[in-house]
Each structure stands twice: as structure tokens, then as C-alpha cells.
Homo-oligomer: 366 residues x 2
Amino acid sequence: MRKIYDIILFHEEAKGEAFLTRLEGKKPLFICVIGTTETAKIPRISAAGKYPELTDYTPPADVELLLLGKCKCIREVPVTPEGIPTPALITMSALRLTDTPALVVSGGLKINPHVPFLDLGGGPGRDIRTGKAVDHVKEVMERARIAGENLAKTTGYLVIGESIPGGTTTALGILLAMGIDARGKVSSSMPSNPHELKIKTVEAGLKASGVEFGALADDPVKAVSCVGDPMVPAFAGLVLGAASKVPVLMAGGTQMGAVLAVIKALNQDVLTNVAIGTTRWIIADKTADLKGIITQIADVPILAADLDFSQSRFDGLKAYDSGIVKEGVGAGGSAIAAMVKSKGLISKTTLLKEIERNYEQLLALR
Amino acid sequence: MRKIYDIILFHEEAKGEAFLTRLEGKKPLFICVIGTTETAKIPRISAAGKYPELTDYTPPADVELLLLGKCKCIREVPVTPEGIPTPALITMSALRLTDTPALVVSGGLKINPHVPFLDLGGGPGRDIRTGKAVDHVKEVMERARIAGENLAKTTGYLVIGESIPGGTTTALGILLAMGIDARGKVSSSMPSNPHELKIKTVEAGLKASGVEFGALADDPVKAVSCVGDPMVPAFAGLVLGAASKVPVLMAGGTQMGAVLAVIKALNQDVLTNVAIGTTRWIIADKTADLKGIITQIADVPILAADLDFSQSRFDGLKAYDSGIVKEGVGAGGSAIAAMVKSKGLISKTTLLKEIERNYEQLLALR
């Protein structure tokens, strides 16, 4: 596949190239949208935390790492049950190398971060098996739209990432409710993707809310309310508010499908100014199919940072190349933005060096 | 006094002119820092609300007006007991004329606004007569500093305003605790400035906290904690984080003295990149002495928007020229920024026309 710098033009190549051209010479603002859902505590559904109860702390700890260079709400950086560190390490390194500003937006949290965050009035999400996953979806999305509109006036473009444990399951919920067949297609932070468990969980939520596959194709607010999570309306609102003014790189994996579906149902005009930015690990994931989700929704380009940690001197980073974690906290998108901003001077090699340097410092803090 | 456009160079003329030159051709970001304090509910201390209990709603309603063009947490725009409308009307008009983005920062609130706001972990302030006015001052200031640092990277310069009823009394508290003699010098939103009541209130707070005049000159965190309000540490932190990178126009009246004293005690280097921007009504106020406060602290310039509502066709606006309200919500600073951004095309006349147009629309909504 063709690359520009170390960015793979994975899907809609010409549009992807044109999108990257529009970013040249512009300064980005990075936004991390965080949220929590009780869905993450279903055993074996999420690896975004050492154990299920700790997933409440992962999003706030991730953004603390981005803004402070260390975590405050927990003692060490978020890790998977195997001890593999959060992708926020990648994002933090990319932002630091390019002196890129970062802002945190909360869609709804159980634990607040010890850093400034934009409050949209949302609360943490319930287990989607209740069929009543998220409250105040419309209001949160509207407030996010206003924030996006204002922030778009301050920056050349936006890179928006997310952190919400359990997020691929809730994304699957939204996608199925809206008629996008994402069964077996959403990604996982674990190498063995628990598709059966995710589908069973979503089906329980759809049943509880009396919603059939595709019944909410035109009602994204209800889809999120029933079987979604609080990150999605905040993320979608930001894009809806910003993308009519500036390019927006939606930085994430298969969860971006759910966000994209919500955006498309509300204002498809903004999609011409949007691209998905992810990691090579997501597009190489044989247990998932990002392209298979996105092509059902809209013809937006998919770009992937050609990250490669296989030669890292740290086992915790090497693990990324055996399919653990893969993406999150806007890792891929922030790497792409760093490559564009530096006109390729920041390559996958320089980025890995900076990530290793930061990881080493964090390990020394323990 | 010399003017540039309709901006009066009121104090430190040469520095004020140099500051304005540094803003030319740059895009501003407007930030409104809001907070509430029980101090505002002391009878006759604040006119920033129809009656004392309503002062909790004034800051959130002010920022709703800025971002939405209408209020949500109350039905009409905030008014004084006499029905004179909030200065947020001026700010809203200045921001709209120049398409300037706005962001809300909360230092600590009793009632949250129905718009996005940056949460810094602070709570609403207590009555300063308790001597325990504000909790978590250091942490809020540190989080604000981080926000200021990041926001400075997105913009040419910052204009920061505030809305906190009772704020001149709490400012007097901080100033006296830090050894700046502001007795009889702080301004008021009422034409008859209740200096005696303010001094009595502050003295009760100083006594309750065992603090004498000037005892906390080097401990601004304690000064705010004992007899201040939650707006001040948020505002000061933003300036501390931003002003080493970009110019910051501190948009307000005599309360800016308290913010300035806090900043100076923590990092006086940033003061070279700071100016105070206010309204003509503040510098013309015979019941107060902004210059007399500021000169005791630092030699920062004072700029004043030469606003004149005496010929307005609305009595509610005309009242500003008889000394009611005078300033707030960054009215003066946002007017100055609009004049600079338009290279003077936006004058006091065009601004009044826009304010009248917006006021008329809001009256029609009732």
C-alpha cells in the first residue's frame, strides 16, 4: 500500500492523500474524549485495565498522562492484565515531539481526572444489557457541538481520540441498532477477540430495549441511549460542530464506525472534511474489519500510522506487535499528525525512540 | 487621554500601546472564568442578580448567553434588582461581530451552566466571614495553569473575563490579606458603592481566619483560601500558564487587582505580557480607584474601551452611563479585542448598535 511519510493510505487512497495535503502547514489541536461504561466490567470484555473494576480509572489516568506526563488517580500508567502499557504513551510522545496542545472532553465519567476537562453534563454509562445505556445523549451531543464549533476557530485542524474501556462492545451496539452489520468486525485490545461475548452482550441490550437490527438507522440519539456509551455522543458532537470549518482526523479504531454512523445520520455534509486515522495494528488485525464497517457507512478515507514496535527493547511495547492493545487515546491519529507537522522528519523510528524514552522514565518512577 | 481606535490608554500609556501593537493581526480566544460565593448573598453586597439567591444563577446564565445567544438556567438574561441587563450582552456582541471563539472555565459553581465548561475540580465558595472561603485553591490553580499552557498554543492571544457576584468584596479580602490597601478602592455594580459593608465583611473574614493586613503577602494560596473566591485561582492559573507564551488581556475591573497580586506573588516574569482591559465606566468611577490598586502591585498597563451608552434608545443600556453595572464578563476587554481585530472598524458606535440589536432580540424572546 502507498505511504506518505510513515502514513499508510489504507482506504480511499486519493481522498486520504487530499486530506493529508489539507493538513500541511497547519497546527493541530488534540482532543481526547473520555467516558466510562459499566459494560467494561463484564468479565473478559475489556483489557483496558489490570482488572475490571480498574477500568473506571483508565480514561482519567490516560489523560493525566497526556497532560502531566504521569498519572495521578492511579499510581502507575494504565496497563492490560498482562502489564502492557496504555497507548496514551504513544499519544503523549507524539504530542510532546510536536508541542501540540491537548484538551480533554468528558462524555461521562465515574472517576474524574486530576486535570482540566470539558464537562458536557453527561454521566457514566450503564451496562448496555439494561437497554438504558446512556442518559442525556441529545444534550451532551449539542453541548459538544458548541464546543467543537468554538474550538474549530482556534486551530488549523482537530485530531480527536478517545479512551473508554469496553468501547468496542458499545460501538457494536450502536452499529447493530443503526443497521450496520459489524458482527465479528469490531476490534479488541486483546489478541483473542471475544466476538461471541460482545455479540451476546449487545443482543441482550437490544432485546432489553426492544430494538431490532437497523431499527434505529435514523435515530442515532436513541441508539446511543439504548446500547451505546457516553464517549460517542461527545465525540460525534465535536465533529459535527468542527468539521464544517476545519478538517477533523477521527483518531481511533473500529469504534470510529459508531461515531461516523451517528454523524452521518445527523449531518452528512461534514463527512467530506473527515478522515479516520488509526494504527497499522488495527488495519492488520485479522480478528476485525475496520474497512468492512466504514464502507457500510460512508466513503471517508482511512489512514494508518505505520507503527512498528517489533524491535523495541521493551517487552511491554513489543507486545503491541503481537496484537495486544493496538490503538486507543488517539495513538494512531496523533502519530499521523506528528508526521505531517514535521513533514516526515518524525518517522516511525524517531517516534518509537521517544516512546521508549518516555516509557523508561515512567518505569523509573515506579 | 490618548486613544487608539476607541481604546483609552489610561495607565502606563507606552506599555499599553506596545501591548496593543503585539495583538495586531493575531486571533484572540475569549475565556470566561466563572464561580460563585455565598458572600454574594449578604444583603446589599451584590447587584449581580435580581435578588441575592439568584446570584448563583448569574455566572452560568452569563456564559449561556455568550455561547448560545440566550440563557437556559434562567428564563431571561441576568439583571440587577433594577432590571439592568448583564454586561455579558456587551461581550456577546463583541465576540459575534468578530467571530471570536469562547471557552468557559469554572473555578467552582453552585449551579452548572447548560453549556460546555472546563472543570478544574473546584467547588463554590463559602461566605468569607467564615475565614474558610475556598477549598483546593492550589490544585485548582495548578489545573488552570495546565489549561492556560495548552490553550496558549492554540491562539494568538487570550482575553480572559470573569463572572462572580460578590467578586469585588472577595477581591478586597485577598488584597487586604496580601497587604494592598484597597479599602474604598474596589468598584461596585451599584451606583452607590457599599464600601463600609464590604470592609466590615472582609474584616470579619480576616478575623475568623486570624489573618492581619498584609500577613499573606507571600502566600496567595492561603489568602484566597481564607477570604477569596473560586474565580481568582482559576483566573490566575490561566494567566500563569499562558502569559509566558502569548499576550493576555485581563478583562475586568478592580477584581483584576486581586488576580494580579496572586500572579505576581507566584511568577512575576509573566507580568510583562499582561495588560488590564476594562471599560470607561470603571476608570470614570469616582467611588473606586482601579489605578490606585494596580500601582501598588505592578506596572502593567490599563486599557479601557471607550463605551458610551448615554444616547442608547434603551433605558436598560442607558443606565450603564449612570454608573450601574459598569463591567463584568470581560465586557471591556472583549470590546477592546474587537476594536483591535477590526483595526478600528468596530467602534464604540458600531458596537452599541450590535448590542442594541441583540438586546432587542432578547427582549422580544420574553
